[in-house]
Every structure is written in structure tokens, then in C-alpha cells.
Amino acid sequence: MEPSLARGGSARDAASRDFEALVEPWVDEMYRLAATIVGPDDARDVTQDALLTAWSKLGSLRQRDQPRPWLHAIVVNQCRQLLRSQRRRPRWIDIDEPGVAARARVTSDASVAVAERDRLDRAFGRLDADHRAALALHYVTDLTVPQIAVALGVREGTVKSRIHAAVERMRAELQRDGADR
């Protein structure tokens, strides 16, 4: 049976098919954005919640042919909510994670890669949701500045300063982490 967000009526079936067609091209990117901001453990739930929100607020989407920034904005908001409710959480470093493996190849020393990844995780984990989202949208997606502005809910002029502030916060956290050790 095909997945359907609304069962029991042909009109709703059609609406759900339209919705699926609208979001399906972007679900993978939504998931990866969520994983970047909140980590892989919560990415599935965040993405599911974002899709449900998108479904329930589909009427507010003005440009049906350009749902991508709108969907990203919903993901960012879901991430904000999650991070607000989980201001702290133990961390795990999975040596099999792709990022760790990539850095391990560079350094030829998995322990160094794990430590570096751990340090970056720790610093990134100290950023607030807005800074995390700014970095994720900038470094992971190929969204334009206007699209990032929509996703973050800020003016275009703020995007650059937000990313700059987030990078500087990362730098400060990494330096502080180094000083603490």
C-alpha cells in the first residue's frame, strides 16, 4: 500500500500525493540538515516532525514550486525546539562515522581523528541552535543567501553576520577547549 498521509477520501488522497511529490525530492536533504544540526540520533525524529509540520502547514507555502527554503526553515525550527528541550545530553563518538573516517585517512591515526572530532563535537554542541543552523546551511547545503535567510527567518543582511558570529564562536570554543585541557 502506498504511504498516504490522509486516508479515507479521494480528495485527501490526492492532497497527500501532492504533498509527497512536493517534499520527496528534499527529504534526504532535510534529514542531512537535521543530522548536521542535532546529530544523527535525533535527526530521524526531527525530520519526521518537520514533515508533519509541513503537512499541517502546507497552506502557508506561498511558492509551491520552491518549497526547499520553506522546508529547511521548518527543519531549523524543529531543531531549535529539540535543542531547547535538550540543553544537554551525553555525547557519543562513533569511530565509524564518515567524518571520523575521512579525517582518519588524512591523519593516518584514528585516535587523533577521534579526538579532533570529539573536540569539534564539543565545540559545536555548545553553539546555540541558530548558530548551528547557520553553519549547517552554509557549509552543507548549496542554498543561496536569500534562501538561507528564509530558512533562518532573518533578513539577508543578517545571514553573513550570523555565519561570521557562528564561526567565531566555534573558534572561541575550540580555543577554550584547548585551554581547559
Binding site: P3, S4, L5, A6, R7, S16, V23, V27, Y31, R32, L33, A35, T36, G39, D41, D42, A43, R44, D45, Q48, L51, L52, S56, A73, N77, Q81, S85, Q86, R87, R88, R89, P90, W92, P98, G99, A102, R103, L120, F124, D130, L135, A136, H138, Y139, V140, V145, G153, V154, R155, G157, T158, K160, S161, R162, I163, A165, V167, M170, R171, L174
Partner: protein, 475 residues
């Protein structure tokens, strides 16, 4: 966008793309479809498998064992006749089975999903008699003194909404938003396993308490926030929690809700959960504390001898605002502890003391700190502009010149500030560059204010539509 010569730029690119290098679960849309359908039918607990697994792992990391403080973490004797065994509902318990709010159509056998009954529930924790929910309700209704600890046994559930719009009004840290918590009477809850939901459906019965969980100051909050095993979804947990009313953080609530906040039942610690006694030490992933837990407890023993430790956790300045807005800046970190002095008698409740242990020198300071006589508590409400969540900067300037406070604020955030008596100008502007928004004649986004000794004021900066905002001050 950023300096390509900056080594950090390349590091961040590699690191973040590594975080994003994950495979989409194949059933994402199908699962959403199921949740979308189910969510329309009933109010349910819905937590995905991923979060369940993560929470289970979290608990494995967080639990570090029971740590005795002082002479011992001793279960003091309860007062004769005062402590109803927690495992059974007290006479007159309002949570009779008939009070259950379980839907009539939840006819699935409860025993297939219900947790085990209350066998093994301790009758005393931390020297406090463990009260069933109904008895605790009675104690609270009779006017339990502020800040005194109660130990309450019941079924804990915490349901978070699938999606919650940002609150229209500012919510302080001890106010509920988007999360429904309940501590239900100890009758076994009637639950049903809904295969379409993919989890357990349960509604707290009438007579349940509605505690507030502030993770930053609640020992082992993760046990209450998350799900402890992957097989049972968000089924309620049989727990004993230590909690209190009259939390000093009520002052962080808006004036209109401060009375309600004073009556909030705030969780301090999980003392027992489904057969497992929980110790008071909470480890977090905050940066490594300068003081070890042993050193922190030594400081407590030195300054508060013969006390029973309720909870102890290390914290950094990131959470200062949620603990106490008047903690001095510049403190690098501290341990937060709650203790019950052994020297005082325990009735159904016991006085509880909260202290900070300054990591710089190991000194202990009782919380709440005395607020200064001159205070401005700026609760900033930013109304949404359409679907855009606004953000802004709040600045407080002396009328004669000079900024005394400036901070970024987001929707419904709280920014406490302390001001000496005097004349000030409050300014709020959107985005990161200061362009005070156009004033159509009603003082938009700027307000002059005279602060007198003893003032506790709440500032509201509200955007409505377009780019207009207004500032009002209550107090």
C-alpha cells in the same frame, strides 16, 4: 561568506559535511504517514525509535551510581503514622479506577502493556516518607511551605507535542510549554498498545499532579525526559521523585503568571525508578569541572555537615540564566547541589537547601542569592511576523549616555538585568545591525524608564506586523 584562508573554514566544512553524511532511513515518508494519521485521532505519546535508542544509551552513560554524602545517604525514618506506604494508594485517593481518563475504546488488555505494579517502591527516600500522589496533592493543597521537599511515588509521563508553535507569550523556565508532564496515582495505568501509532497510548487519570521538570537543576532528568527502553515507547514510568513548590525562579515569570509559578511543583531529583534506587550525582557533558565530584562534596561536608544530598551536578555559565539571573558574570563554573539538613525534623516534607559551589575556590553560596534592591527583569516577547521567527537586540543605555546592557534576544526569551536606580533608555532593534525601527509616533522600540530601588520590572518588546514594535514595562 567566510575567509577561505582561514584554516577553520576548511575544518568546519569537512567536519559539518561529515555530520551530514548520513543515509536517509528508507521508511521516512511511510512512518510520517502513519504518524500523521494517528496524530489526528488522539492525543498520544509519540516518540520515534531513534530517540528511544538514543535515550536508552544516554541513560547508560548518565548513571554513575549512588554517592553517599555526609555521614551517609540515609533513609531516615518517617514520622509515625504519617507515611502512607507508597505502593498502595491512600484511603480517599482521588485516583480511583473510575477516575481514569483512559478512552472508552481503549479496550485492549492492559496487562499486555502495563508496567509492573508497585512492588518494591521504597517507603522512605532521603529520610522523607514517600507519599502517594493523592496524599501529596493533599499536602500541597493544605499549603506546603515553600521550598520544602516532598517525596512522591507515581506514574511519570512526559509527552512532547509533535510540533508546537512558538508561545505567544514569554515562558519562564519553570512554566510548561509544549510538553505535558504528569505524575499519576499509583494505580496501574490502563494503557493500550496501538499498532497504528507504534507505541503506547495512555492518558494521565484525573487526580494526577503536573510537575515541572527543569533539566538543568533536576538530578537525572534524562531518566524522566527520555525513554528508557526501546521496546515500550513512552509508557509511563513508576518513579519516586523529590520535588518542591515555591521555587525562587518564580520571579522569572511574567508578573501576570508569577502566582501560578509559585505553585508549580518542581522536580529536584529522581530517587527511584522501577526497582532502581537512583543516586544523587549527576554527570553531564559540560566541560570537565575544575573541581571533582569528591572535591565538591568535600566542600559541602565542610560547610553543610550532616546533610543528606539530594542532587549534585556541575554546570557552566551557559545555564546561569536559568538558575539565577543574579549570579555574577565571570564565574567560570560551579556545582549545583540540593541538600536536606539532617538536623531538622522530617515530617511529610523537609526543608531543602540549594547551594552553589564556586569552582574557583570551593566556597559554597546558598541559593537563591539575594537579589539586589534594584532590578529590571526584561522578559522580551517578540511576536512572530508571519512565519518568520524574529530576533532582536535589546540594549539598556543610561539616559546620559553609555550602554549598560546589551544582548541578543529571540522569541519569548528572558534577559534579566540589574540596574542601579536611575534613568535609562531601553532600545530594541531587529537583526544584528542597529537601525532603530521607524517610530510612527507611539514610542516604537525605544522607551525611557526611571528605575527606583526595589523595582522588579518586566519589559515586553512586541513585534506585530511589518517592522513595528512596541515596548511596554510592567511592574
Amino acid at each position: 561568506m567566510s575567509d577561505e584562508q582561514d584554516p577553520l573554514d576548511a575544518t568546519l566544512r569537512t567536519y559539518l559535511r561529515g555530520r551530514a553524511d548520513v543515509a536517509l532511513p528508507p521508511d521516512m515518508l511511510a512512518t510520517v504517514a502513519q504518524r500523521g494519521d494517528s496524530n489526528r485521532r488522539s492525543r498520544v505519546s509519540l516518540f520515534g525509535q531513534a530517540r528511544r535508542v538514543a535515550a536508552a544509551a544516554a541513560i547508560a552513560v548518565v548513571i554513575v551510581g549512588v554517592v553517599a554524602f555526609g555521614s551517609t545517604v540515609r533513609p531516615g525514618p518517617g514520622p509515625a503514622g504519617s507515611a502512607t506506604p507508597a505502593g498502595s494508594a491512600a484511603p480517599g485517593d482521588s485516583a480511583a479506577p473510575g477516575d481514569s481518563a483512559a478512552p472508552a475504546d481503549s479496550a485492549a488488555p492492559a496487562d499486555s502493556a502495563a508496567p509492573t505494579d508497585s512492588e518494591g517502591v521504597p517507603s522512605v527516600v532521603l529520610g522523607l516518607p514517600v507519599l502517594p500522589v493523592a496524599r501529596a496533592r493533599q499536602v500541597l493543597q493544605d499549603g506546603a511551605p515553600r521550598g520544602r521537599a516532598l517525596a512522591i511515588a507515581g506514574w511519570w509521563s512526559m509527552q512532547t507535542g509533535l510540533s508546537c508553535a512558538a508561545p505567544r507569550d514569554y515562558k519562564a523556565v519553570i512554566e510548561g510549554w509544549c510538553t505535558a508532564t504528569a505524575l499519576a496515582p499509583t494505580d496501574a495505568p490502563v494503557m493500550r498498545d496501538d499498532p497504528q501509532v507504534g507505541g503506547i497510548v495512555w492518558d494521565p487519570p484525573a487526580g494526577s499532579l503536573v510537575p515541572r521538570l527543569v533539566p538543568e537543576t533536576a538530578g537525572y532528568a534524562d531518566l524522566l525526559q527520555g525513554v528508557t527502553d526501546a521496546a515500550s515507547s513512552m509508557r509511563p514510568r513508576h518513579v519516586v521523585v523529590v520535588a518542591h513548590i515555591g521555587d525562587p525562579r518564580a520571579i522569572l515569570c511574567a508578573p501576570t503568571s508569577r502566582d501560578v509559578c509559585e505553585r508549580e511543583l518542581v522536580v529536584d531529583a529522581v530517587a527511584w525508578i522501577e526497582g532502581r534506587a537512583i543516586g544523587p550525582l549527576l554527570e553531564t557533558d559540560a566541560r570537565p569541572p575544575m573541581l571533582t565530584a569528591e572535591q565538591a562534596m568535600s566542600a559541602l561536608k565542610r560547610d553543610l555537615p550532616d546533610s543528606t544530598l539530594v542532587t549534585l551536578s556541575p554546570w557552566t555559565r551557559e545555564v546561569y540564566g536559568t538558575l539565577d539571573p543574579w549570579i555574577a558574570d565571570g564565574v567560570s563554573g560551579f556545582w549545583f547541589a540540593r541538600v536536606i539538613p539532617d538536623s531538622v525534623g522530617r515530617d511529610l516534607t523537609a526543608p531543602m537547601t540549594a547551594v552553589f559551589i564556586d569552582e574557583a575556590d570551593g566556597t559554597t553560596v546558598t541559593w537563591p542569592l539575594d537579589p539586589p534592591e534594584w532590578t529590571l527583569l526584561a522578559a522580551v516577547h517578540l511576536g512572530a511576523r508571519g512565519d518568520i521567527v524574529p530576533e532582536a537586540t535589546l540594549a539598556i543605555e543610561r539616559r546620559g549616555g553609555g550602554t549598560v546592557y546589551q544582548a541578543a534576544v529571540s522569541q519569548s526569551s528572558m534577559k534579566p538585568a540589574t540596574l542601579e536606580p536611575g534613568s535609562y533608555r531601553l532600545v530594541v532593534w531587529s537583526d544584528s545591525e542597529r537601525v532603530v525601527l521607524p517610530d510612527p509616533g507611539n514610542g516604537d522600540c525605544e522607551k525611557e524608564l526611571d528605575v527606583s530601588a526595589g523595582d522588579v520590572l518586566t519589559l515586553s518588546a512586541t513585534w506585530t506586523t511589518g517592522q513595528r514594535c512596541t515596548i511596554s514595562v510592567d511592574g
